[in-house]
């Protein structure tokens, strides 16, 4: 059996942000699992520092509280796996130490580079997650790195499709071809960010369903859903509240076609929580559960697909 198909079905969860502790302390049952960005729970003092990763005590205390009640999934932002100048094995080992603590069913990161190495050898943060060219040179580099991640962290590793505002011209593969080649050569899974796909399709004028048709959906273990906003003539992944209808329609399209889908994560930025409110969060989770339950053949625990009040 493929290791992805053996994964447990988690249900519907939310990506942790600073607005959530109050809600979760009141009713942690509102979510089936919590996805965390581990990087938010520490300060990285950089290579060679001792300790390199200094944990934020109050944040970790709350994480420990959640971990006793709900599964934790890691969605990292610090690997920068597409950075051709550096592959940070220390970072991967640190993720593994957190995996030992919190027993992630899987972990994920972004198919992008978030920092670069300058000609002087110094590491510079790129300010956002920038896309790698879908070329064979980048593919070969990523295959080697994904394999190394999978050697160090024994649970499945997923890569998330990136949002991009510029299209690198004259690429050797399409994005689905690149993702398919990467998953086929490494056995890694995919975190299909439906909202990123929607934003890219809208900004770059292609049909998101064609993208889905071209993708090997057996590799999709998790999806992200979110809201976004218009900015300077483009649609951005600002995670600014409720999902647009088009994202729900796309989710509805993907779920029955992704046999190994195990989780749907709603993302929102904490600065939008005052507008969304607990009712708004509950509505998004309820709708996602409804779609998951309607289409999924997985045996989601009945308690996890009940509508719950936050």
């Amino acid at each position: 059996m493929d290791r992805l198909s053996a994964l447990p079905t988690l249900g519907v969860g939310v990506l942790y942000n600073p607005s959530l502790p109050e809600i979760l302390r009141a009713e942690v049952e509102a979510v089936d699992y919590i996805e965390i960005t581990p990087d938010m729970f520490w300060t990285d003092h950089g290579p060679g520092s001792d300790p390199q990763y200094e944990e934020l005590e109050s944040w970790v205390e709350f994480l420990d509280w959640i971990a006793k009640r709900r599964p934790i999934v890691a969605h990292n932002i610090g690997l920068s796996i597409g950075n051709a100048g550096r592959f940070d094995e220390n970072y991967v080992r640190h993720i593994e130490s957190w995996n030992q603590r919190y027993r992630f069913p899987w972990h994920s990161d972004h198919l992008a580079f978030a920092d670069v190495v300058g000609a002087d050898g110094h590491i510079r943060n790129a300010g956002s997650a920038l896309p790698v060219p879908y070329d064979f040179e980048a593919l070969d580099m990523l295959v080697e790195r994904v394999n190394r991640v999978q050697e160090i962290v024994p649970v499945p590793f997923l890569l998330e499709n990136n949002v991009y505002f510029v299209v690198i011209p004259d690429q050797e593969m399409t994005e689905p071809q690149f993702l398919n080649a990467l998953t086929a050569r490494t056995g890694c899974g995919l975190l299909l960010d439906i909202h990123n796909l929607y934003a890219n399709a809208r900004n770059h004028h292609f049909d998101a369903r064609d993208f889905v048709e071209g993708l090997d959906l057996t590799r999709v273990v998790e999806t992200h859903i979110a809201g976004g906003s218009e900015f300077a003539g483009m649609y951005t992944d600002s995670h600014s509240g409720a999902c647009p209808e088009a994202v729900w329609e796309l989710l509805e399209h993907v779920v029955p076609r992704a046999p190994n889908l195990r989780a749907i994560t709603f993302e929102f930025h904490d600065s939008y929580y005052p507008f969304l409110g607990p009712e708004g969060v509950r509505d998004q989770l309820t709708r996602a559960r409804s779609i998951f339950a309607r289409h999924s053949e997985s045996d989601i625990d009945a308690t996890s697909i009940r509508t719950r009040a936050l």
Binding site: G82, A119, N125, G127, P133, E137, F165, V166
Partner: protein
């Protein structure tokens, strides 16, 4: 190695609208800094014309300003229209962008301090509000339980040795009435010019579940500020003993427990 150079060049363009415009202008100066293939140069020359490039540049700026605006919010309010100028200046000289909140806040804090000292920024309240916010932020990132345990252990030892500021405490000197100033800022308002002046000492305390602050008497405040700046105190004046009784200064740590001393000092700004 060209993929590495391509990524570096793309990230530089995203960080610099001026470089994008230079490439649009047709010059090759930008590319001389990178070991790029002809295909990669061609890609970048096309990319700068895409609408998404200006969006990428804006997202970059938004992501970089987020930690500053979030964690030094009152200081940013005081800078008001000047914020953009100062951030641009900071980014022009800060060639190691870091989205880690703590180091980025400290670096920007040091930059603003230098601008205040040299008279470039003349806002009368910024110096003290910046000190206040840097102090609060320093306390937000410390390991409270670990330090509490170390203080517990230290206070059970003989009292004859040197003292230090309690690592869970920071003291900030205000030149204007702090309650007034903070009241306006908490309401997202820029304080008026007539906030009463004087010398006031605010103690910020992270010993409890929440960070709290209160005002300290002038004599005690001056002594506590000196201990904070010196890092160590060997005198046993009545003020020092009173501060020790209040738990604001504690026995200094040495040897295996030295990490308590490491967090005693305010991060240099």
């Amino acid at each position: 190695m060209t993929l590495r150079a391509f990524e570096h060049a793309l990230s530089e363009l995203v960080a610099s609208p001026a470089s994008c415009l230079a490439v649009r202008g047709g010059g090759d100066d930008f590319f001389r800094r990178f070991d790029l293939s002809e295909k990669e140069k061609k890609r970048l020359k096309e990319v700068v014309w895409q609408k998404g490039m200006s969006v990428s540049c804006s997202v970059y700026r938004s992501n970089r300003i987020t930690p500053l605006y979030t964690m030094l919010h009152f200081s940013c309010l005081l800078l008001a229209d000047r914020l953009k100028t100062e951030v641009d200046q900071y980014w022009a000289i800060s060639d190691a962008p870091d989205l880690q909140f703590k180091p980025e806040i400290e670096r920007f804090g040091r930059f603003l301090k230098s601008r205040i000292v040299t008279g470039v920024i003349t806002n009368p309240y910024l110096d003290e509000i910046l000190d206040y916010e840097l102090a609060v932020n320093a306390l937000q990132f410390i390991s409270r339980q670990k330090i509490l345990a170390q203080i517990q252990s230290a206070t059970s030892q003989p009292e004859s040795g040197p003292l230090q500021l309690n690592p869970l405490i920071r003291v900030v000197r205000f030149r204007h009435e702090p309650f007034e100033l903070l009241k306006y800022l908490e309401q997202e308002k820029v304080p008026p010019s007539e906030v009463p002046g004087g010398e006031f000492f605010i103690v910020i305390n992270a010993a409890g579940e929440l960070i709290e602050w209160g005002q300290l008497d002038g004599d005690l405040g001056r002594v506590l500020l000196r201990i904070q700046e010196d890092g160590i105190c060997r005198e046993r004046s009545p003020e020092v003993m009173e501060l020790a009784r209040a738990g604001l200064v504690v026995p200094a740590q040495r040897g295996d427990d030295a990490d308590i001393a490491d967090v005693t000092l305010l991060d240099p700004i």
